[in-house]
Symmetry: C2
Subunit: 242 residues, 2 copies
Amino acid sequence: MALKNSAPSVILVRPQLGENIGAVARAMHNFGLTDLRLVAPKNGWPNGRAWDMATNATGILDKATLFATVAGALCDIHFALATTARPRDMEKPVFSAREAAAKLQRQGKRTAVLFGPERTGLTNEDAILCDGLITIPTEAENPSLNLAQAAVIVGYEWCMASQAKAVRRAENPCPAASKAEIEGFFAQMEEYLDAVNHFRTPGKKPLMWQNLRNIFTRSAMNTQEVKTLRGVVRALYLRRKG
Amino acid sequence: MALKNSAPSVILVRPQLGENIGAVARAMHNFGLTDLRLVAPKNGWPNGRAWDMATNATGILDKATLFATVAGALCDIHFALATTARPRDMEKPVFSAREAAAKLQRQGKRTAVLFGPERTGLTNEDAILCDGLITIPTEAENPSLNLAQAAVIVGYEWCMASQAKAVRRAENPCPAASKAEIEGFFAQMEEYLDAVNHFRTPGKKPLMWQNLRNIFTRSAMNTQEVKTLRGVVRALYLRRKG
């Protein structure tokens, strides 16, 4: 499928257990990711235990590439995100797995997601090479999401974002409205509502207006929909007849 | 946390490997699920391999309950969903994991998610006892999502839905608008737009009207927002002054 070409590379940094590398490959295969890169795996490479765990994803292991350093694995990558179990004091944007998937979809260039070693996770030195961090929301006070589980969630969210994008394109070939188009609609509606003195109590206007904007902002309209709404409020306001 | 009380029970039907039972417990713990039920585990119970795999989720295994039949495990459950790898010819609603999480959140009564044995999945006889099916979207032609991976995704989506619900409640304590309230708004807007002859070409009205409804339907308004919009279209249409 075409979308596989834009799928992020998965970079496992100093992974310890072959079983986990195999489980990651299996998760990648299920969710349409194909490029696996290994940085200095602790028990060497190739590792037979990885192939044992990979079931029908051994093709990903066969093609996996080996690097000595994180910088090497990132050499042809334009946008990389580092998975991390805990927030860090770092001047990097932090995304949930869902936000990260949307972000990766929008890049249109080579991307990667990095996962750290099983016990310790990525170091700050690893993360600093990336453009942002991914945290996976959990409920437990002491979550222990293992490497393969984290890869399952990142892969799953990427797959969901791909499928949603494909559906949006099929259902709605019109591009998303720009900020300027949406603000143009809001300015027109505000002008009309001021003209009919809808916000009678001036002090209440800011909150009323914000609530009204939220309804439309949440709807994430496309260019055509904004035009449709502008036509509707104009027609109502002008009471145009036939 | 309060939401744990409403979390679905996880029912593993004839699970084979203790490792997988432990990995499921670990996933449950991470995502705030606590009640594990086992139906006729193939290698008996308790199984030490489960405890080896569960890391900090052994409390879930300690409290897990054992049943001889699926019907027994469902005895106090009001709404149950069966995970399934492939669509079945069955008169049951089918949900994605994300839709299922939202559906489970809305029940307000005891719920459960069933997972089948590793190799074969749930039988039709198992699924027929449930209220609907869950399928997990994948990209591969031959996906092989294992038991623990499927539990990770169901648990993760449940956790995401819980957190979103908590945020929505905090931001927006007003209840979601009912179908009747939304239809009332649409009827009012349609009446006004007909009165100003907005849909000049009668043949085009159905599509124009559907597009317009979609903008508002996507926004998932609450009761207050529907009232706000009704006030806005009334004000524009009546051109009330002062």
